[in-house]
Symmetry: C2
Subunit: 400 residues, 2 copies
């Protein structure tokens, strides 16, 4: 009843590296000789008192290696926004009752911006009520849009998948001698980090993508048409973020479909189709639009070793912080020199619910490309080859 | 003017393995100490007298290794249907004049069904006019629908990409506790081989895909709805071929868009969206449709080593056949025992313009899955891990 115990949970959208962070947390906990429970489906698992004992499964090094390389969220996820802990306490009473019942005094929550909101609220409630539970956040998101960190765990692998896919699509579109335009739609509602990362596809003998449009810069149809007209390539590749907007601030995709999730974020789809539509009308020749879909976040077969290692490390550091009794904090990355990445700690209240966009210095003046400074920033994050663990010709995964 | 020389060209849609076959042809030619020219953009390159000398570039083993691992068509491609050589001879006169001018007496054409039609017509014209040029076909297609061969070069890598992607999408869709349906659209107009290959995603701890629909079996909306209702999974994954049709033989995608390419093939897109539409209406819960797009054919970062090696080998054997003076033939694979793959020769006239569909023994009786016999057939084709050659975190390619 009163053992000192870890609990860990995962939240938000899956990534290719979030399980590496889970592994780090588990390793950090196992080092102390303590017990670690995994809540199934995020904070919902805590509310439902639905835990897995992780000690046995992950004392086996083979399972640890598999976990590091399995995309998605091993423990499952949820999308829940907790109420204000000062005014609506019912759910918090339940959560901390469950913690108490299971002897849990350290909780690491792995997730994105909305999950850091949960870390903030849980730690505030605990402080207000003098409950001795450390609540620590470990970040993840392919979107790279969290405040207070150089980059986010999961971004490097998604960026590598995006850049590699764009390069391969360029090999595909380049086979015919006839003029063509291929529009590749990449995830990113308000922040264009992942779309910017498409520029990492370029090499000495591969020039795609030729135009890059980010949500940070409104862009008119006329400007896109002019950019295409000025592009000397036969087979033009255009990378567009799902959230690009026109000069009036209207989403391009809003012409096709738009709804909202429970956090009020617009759910966007189809801007590439819209761009394809008016370019087809203008230029007439062969067009294709491609949505890189969920594989850009859950593609575990071409991850960045740098990302997986860093994601694992930040999880371990989150566990260490919880062991030290820190609470209401979230781990972050700090970069020094050409590329040394260390883990720092932020007050979660300072960074939750903030969105870090691509800064001006990373976007070209004419708003259709990234700068060398961006390339220098992003390149180290996608480096390092991972030997995928396969079985029968497909990646081998661990599931709960 | 009268040297004995090879020419080689690539045609049709790109694959991840067609350059491995090109490498095989080059190696076969280089063994003879002869010269080999590559026609740029298929038979059009011959007509335009547009050749690259391949000897220098590919005497370097590093370039050979890169070529084997570069997706797309190194020499470029075209989609040209030649006229009847008995009645419309102009283009043939031009082609064989160019061959003569360059001293070319061996021509290997790497391509799919439409390209084998070209091999047939060129060799017929040469025979009719007593021209001593060997014309040999080397097959390729991700669709696996060529007649007279156990399987096609390029299919194994596409099948591996499809199966791995489906498995990763299952990790992604499985993170939430709420019911969901994900519909994955896979290439295949009339033959469902690649969609069938999605079943290779299954393993001990991963059951997706849960339903598989192929163009070989008409399927009504009502049957799909019933299948979904009977599926016990929380997060259902459905693999659909782009060419699935209803009980009246109507394409599902015809409700969105349909046009024809120059060979009269229907260009299909969007059946997953249509299926999503009526399932959403019926079941209401979360739906997502995903198009695996061109990455399934040009994804060079997760290829099958078996496929790349076999593709290289069949190219070499095509060169050997040309050296032996064979003409009007196309190479093919024959399988013996549990899995030994050898190269055989077919008369191109016997196999061109024929389409090999998935046979009944490979489709489950209730038309929503594949059989164990299919799994046994397909599994060997996707085996073998390739260490991708990367540079700066993305695959390194060779381009002309």
């Amino acid at each position: 009843m009163t053992n000192s115990k870890f609990a860990v949970a995962q939240s938000g959208g899956p990534t290719a590296a979030i399980n590496a962070t889970l592994l780090g947390v588990i390793e950090g906990a196992l080092e102390t000789g303590g017990e670690i429970l995994g809540a199934v489906n995020g904070i919902k698992g805590v509310i439902n008192n639905d835990f897995l004992n992780l000690n046995d499964t992950f004392s086996d090094p083979k399972n640890r290696e598999l976990l590091k390389n399995t995309p998605g969220s091993y423990l499952g996820s949820c999308r829940i926004k907790l109420p204000d802990p000062e005014t609506d306490t019912e759910v918090y009473e339940r959560i901390f009752d469950v913690f108490k019942e299971n002897g849990i005094d350290k909780f690491v929550y792995i997730g994105g911006n909305d999950s850091m909101d949960t870390v903030d609220k849980l730690s505030r409630y605990a402080k207000i009520n003098n409950i001795d539970v450390s609540v620590v956040g470990a970040p993840k998101t392919i979107d790279n849009d969290l405040a207070g960190t150089d980059h986010t765990p999961g971004f490097g692998s998604a960026a590598r998948f995006v850049a590699s896919s764009v390069k391969e699509v360029a090999r595909d579109s380049g086979v015919y001698a006839e003029k063509s335009i291929t529009i590749i739609e990449i995830m990113g509602r308000n922040a264009g980090w992942l779309t910017a990362a498409s520029a990492l596809a370029r090499s000495e003998n591969s020039t795609a993508p030729h135009l890059i449009y980010l949500p940070e810069r409104p862009i008119s149809r006329e400007k896109i048409i002019e950019d295409v007209r000025n592009c000397p390539e036969t087979n033009i590749i255009i990378a567009v973020s799902e959230g690009i907007r026109d000069e009036n601030g209207e989403y391009y995709c809003s012409q096709t479909t738009q709804s909202h999730d429970i956090f009020g974020h617009a759910q966007l789809a189809g801007c590439a189709k819209v761009v394809e539509g008016f370019l087809k009308e203008e230029f007439g020749y062969k067009m294709r639009s491609i949505e890189l879909n969920v594989l850009q976040r859950c593609g575990g077969h071409f991850t960045s070793l740098t990302d997986l290692n860093e994601s694992q490390h930040i999880g371990k550091r989150a566990a260490h912080a919880a062991i030290k009794g820190r609470t209401g904090v979230v781990m972050a990355f700090e970069r020094t020199g050409d590329y040394v990445c260390t883990v720092i700690e932020n007050n979660v209240a300072d960074v939750a619910n903030k969105e870090r966009k691509v800064p001006d210095e990373f976007i070209s003046e004419n708003s259709n490309d990234v700068t060398d400074a961006f390339m220098k920033y992003a390149r180290p994050l996608i480096l390092g080859d991972v030997q995928v663990i396969t079985e029968d010709g497909v990646p081998k995964h661990i599931t709960r």
